[in-house]
Amino acid sequence: MFPDELVAELEEIRSCFPVAKAAMVPVLRRVQEDRGWIDPEARDWVAEFLSVTKMEVHEVATFYPMLYTEPVGKHVIHVCRTLSCDVCGARELWAHLEKKLKVERGGTTEDGRFTLKSAECLASCGTAPVMLIDNERHENLSLAEVDKLLEATK
């Protein structure tokens, strides 16, 4: 199901722990990077890879906000909504993005290009407002910069 290099990488992650199950979150994240989300097929593959039941993978995968058990757009945008950002421009940023992308929080644009997710504090409070595009951090954002970033994210 996965290319050999990826499997080798996952095996290396697994080898860091005395029990395979402990590789759960890093393996799921890595698999998600490859496939966009943790689809049922990937979930079942991981269960076998870590010698656990599908339910154990499901329980963990559905817990974490940064593991997606539903399909997402080609690019995932996370905008911080927590207090420091909220009082330093995040509201304007939110309004701008929702209008520009014509989606609500959690939604995916019609063309499937972006999913707009809300994030809790991203540890960039001193450089608010902040957002992640495909887990890449962008700080001190002006609306003009946001437009540029979106433009550059094909």
């Binding site: 049922p40 979930r43 079942d44 039941t53 599908k54 339910m55 154990e56 993978v57 499901h58 329980e59 559905t62 817990f63 974490y64 906000p65």
Partner: protein, 483 residues
Amino acid sequence: MIKLSIDGREVEVEPGTTVLEAAATLGIDIPHYCYHPDIGVDGNCRICLVEVNGNTDKLAIGCKFPCGEGMEVETESEAVVKARKGVMEFLLINHPLDCTICDQAGECPLQDYSYHYGTGDSRFAEKKRNKPKHVEFSEKVMFDAERCILCTRCTRFFEEVRDCRPIGVENMGGKSTITTGPNGPIQDPYQMNIIDICPVGALTSRDFRFKQRVWFMDFADTVCPGCSKGCNITAGSYQGKLLRFVPRRNTEVNASWMCDDGRLSYDKYNMPERVRGASVSGDPASFDAARAKITELVGDGQGVAVLASTSQTSEELFAVREWARTARVRDLWHGERTWESDDFLKQADATPNTAGAQALGYASVPSQAPELRGLIVVGDVDVPPALLANLDFLIQQAPQAGELGEAAVVLLPGRNALEKNGHWTNGDGAVQEVRAARDPGPDVPEDWTIWRDLAGVSWTSIAEITKAMGAVSTADAEAVTAS
């Protein structure tokens, strides 16, 4: 040993004992939802909070907190009662409170505690959370996520008792839900136990759903007749009709569990079609006439054998044996019935009292059965066809006549496994009391009275037999059959 005080009362316990367990030895009942003695501790519901050494800022959970030397525990202090009310309120604000249509009503600790501690959801002016209400977990179990208090007893039952993961918790925080997730319907043959241990009405039996409100029902504490495990059960009925079996806790036998097959077997004991009164050669007859016929047929007892069901109680079998002794019938055999066993409770012997029968001298039917003139069939038993080959006569005493009935010269009624009193001895040698859970209706006397009257003994109650039986050892029994 560790000495501590609970509500001002001294108690001594083994190291490692929890506060909840220690309190129980004093008869103090600390409320609990997530803790279950046969699954163990998790500590998530927080209803069992207690005050330790006067610390009211941080309360300890009784179900997990270990007893310590000199500790002072309060289980009803102001802080504890307030916290408990608080937890109750938290549990109730998003709870549908549809007790009027809930199967758990009357058996629901949530309903009980809210009755005791009040408040309910009256301060909650918001919209309750919506979650799926009619989820089929399997053909046997329904799930209502709105009623669920997320105590995880159900998931831990499978994990810890059954070593499998058919259900789990998905999502996070207030959105957490029990789910079958990536799995299909639950397959486990013990799955219905989660219905009993669910402290609320979130898991319900599709079989029992909406059948009857529990407060209208009658209950008898008895033993499952399904196999030689003898799981302790409470049989519930309404107007003489059995509606359900649920396990009754016995740490020596079945803990809090029973198999689904045993649980769902209740209906066959309702027996609308059955033998009532005596008959001779197919015609209704008086018991006296039937007895006379039996005496005549059995004669000197030569060439006559008894084949008794191992669902009969030991008292009933004892009464039969007493008659056999007077009638000089030597061969006392017991029937056999098997099904597939498993690695948990279910035993291959699908009858409850083989050990009891054997202790009373009943033997398996010999592979080379002697030539028989007559056979006396007692109870619900499968008769090996070979035994029937050259019979002059067949006498049957049983709840249902079955195929044999036509051939029986004398047919007498009998009580089925849920209509009996007495004792069964399970496969591990535990002697367990059996209590009638339903009345068979007219013309079905208790089995032991039939054989008492035939034997001409003067017992007036089953307790008398139990006592008499205690006085007769297995050695005596052998002596009887050998004579």
